[in-house]
């Protein structure tokens, strides 16, 4: 238990997850990033993807997020996201809806390159999920 640190995943409506974790992999702004105990204090963004929470080897939970903010400070990891869902609770309808919504947004002409990059990435993540 010495290698564990505290993790909280919070949405505006409630605390989704609050427990100790050994390793947390987050889809950070510039690529996936794993956090262990004694990581440097950091603040970053999430892009669409999967948060993987590992308490022990071979024992993990996964959460799907579309966006969010991450703060790691003194062995406390806080993930603020309005869209975090436990992967087990994802429904096919919801994913289909997201898929369609993302594709719709991509066809718009007034989006920036950065938005396009995020949307494309989201589409990739969604497709890897539905399979």
């Amino acid at each position: 238990m010495e290698d564990n640190f505290k993790l909280e995943i919070i949405s505006p409506e409630k605390i989704i997850f609050s427990d100790d974790a050994k390793m947390v992999t987050i889809p950070s702004y510039e690529g996936d990033m794993s956090i262990l105990k004694n990581h440097i204090s950091t603040i970053t963004f999430l892009r669409p993807g999967i948060i993987k929470v590992q308490k022990e080897e071979e024992n993990f939970q996964e959460f799907f997020v579309q966006d969010g903010t991450v703060e790691f400070f003194k062995d406390n990891l806080v993930i603020l996201s309005a869209s975090a869902v436990n992967k087990k609770n994802l429904s096919k309808e919801f994913l289909d809806y997201l898929n369609k919504d993302t594709k719709d947004k991509l066809t718009r002409t007034n989006i920036t390159d950065h938005d396009r990059y995020i949307l494309n990435h989201k589409l990739d993540v969604l497709q890897s999920l539905t399979i």
């Binding site: 505006p12 409506e13 510039e30 603040i43 703060e71």
Partner: protein
């Protein structure tokens, strides 16, 4: 003196009113518990968000190029006031308290010769403000048809505010709502959301710590601050919802008690006048018999 029949009708109507207020109290009590839970669950998010922003804004060195949401537009002429009230009445001084607080602020703004713009959320606030300040109201929203207000609705309002800000429609923005302290006390609040208020100094200790930012501080702030607006508005919604039910519960409780008092008083009057009528009849019979 009203007739016996009138009194009877009066008592009956007060009693049925009492039944209604009692039922409303029960409903409010049940809803209050849920709303209170929601408000408490929602607090960590906005607090953590505030903390992050505080840490970030303290480490921004280049204040000149910082986000407009943080430092303002440099002017202080046009004020946008977002007044968040309930959609339903019969909840004591809940709506009036928010409006009074807002009106005081409006007067101050107008006295200083600044431009005032009002954005009302919830129909009761609009009803109360439209008579005097109607010409200042630029937007109104209500959620009458919604059963439950979620983060999505707060986000919509936030987006509207951000759009207005990006169009340079205003320089500073305040929100007015009721903070839920406990069932009988709700405190009307004004909170500045653009530019972000400099918060409590005691947190400053944490700001000495070194953070690694990915991407740059300014970029994070640029994205985070607009999001924070929706968060703050959602927090106001949750606090308001709990306050509304609490306020309604106390209002309906005292209404039920008042109705009980009134029924008691009316029953006494009714019994007295009934007795008086009987006595009067008896006297008439006796004095009629005596005169024979």
């Amino acid at each position: 003196m009203p007739s016996l029949d009138d009194l009877k009708k009066r008592i009956k109507s007060v009693k049925s009113t009492q039944k209604i207020t009692k039922a409303m109290k029960m409903v409010a009590a049940a809803k209050l518990r849920r709303a209170q839970e929601n408000a408490e669950k929602g607090r960590p998010f906005s607090e953590k968000m505030n903390n992050i922003i505080l840490n970030l804004s303290n480490s921004v060195s280049d204040k000149d190029n910082a986000s407009k949401f943080l430092v303002g537009t440099g002017k202080n002429d046009v004020h946008l006031c977002v007044v968040i009230t309930a959609d339903r009445g019969l909840c004591g001084g809940f709506n009036t308290n928010i409006c009074r607080k807002a009106k005081n602020y409006f007067e101050k703004i107008l006295k200083e010769g600044k431009t005032l713009k009002i954005f009302t959320v919830g129909s009761k606030g609009y009803d109360q403000l439209k008579r005097v300040y109607g010409s200042y109201i630029i937007e109104k929203v209500n959620f009458k048809s919604y059963k439950k207000i979620t983060y999505k609705e707060a986000e919509q309002i936030g987006e509207k505010i951000i759009k207005l800000f990006n169009e340079s429609q205003f320089d500073a923005c305040k929100i007015f709502y009721n903070k839920f302290k406990n069932v009988i006390t709700q405190i009307p609040q004004e909170q500045q959301i653009i530019p972000i208020e400099n918060q409590k100094k005691k947190e400053e200790k944490t700001s000495d710590n070194f953070y690694e930012f990915e991407p740059e501080e300014n970029e994070i702030l640029e994205d985070l601050l607009p999001r924070n607006i929706s968060t703050q508005i959602f927090k106001a919604f949750l606090e308001n919802a709990a306050s509304e039910q609490g306020s309604r519960m106390t209002a309906m409780d005292s209404a039920t008690r008042n109705a009980g008092d009134l029924v008691e008083k009316l029953t006494i009057t009714y019994n007295r006048s009934r007795q008086a009528a009987i006595t009067k009849e008896l006297i008439e019979i006796i004095s009629g018999a005596e005169s024979l």
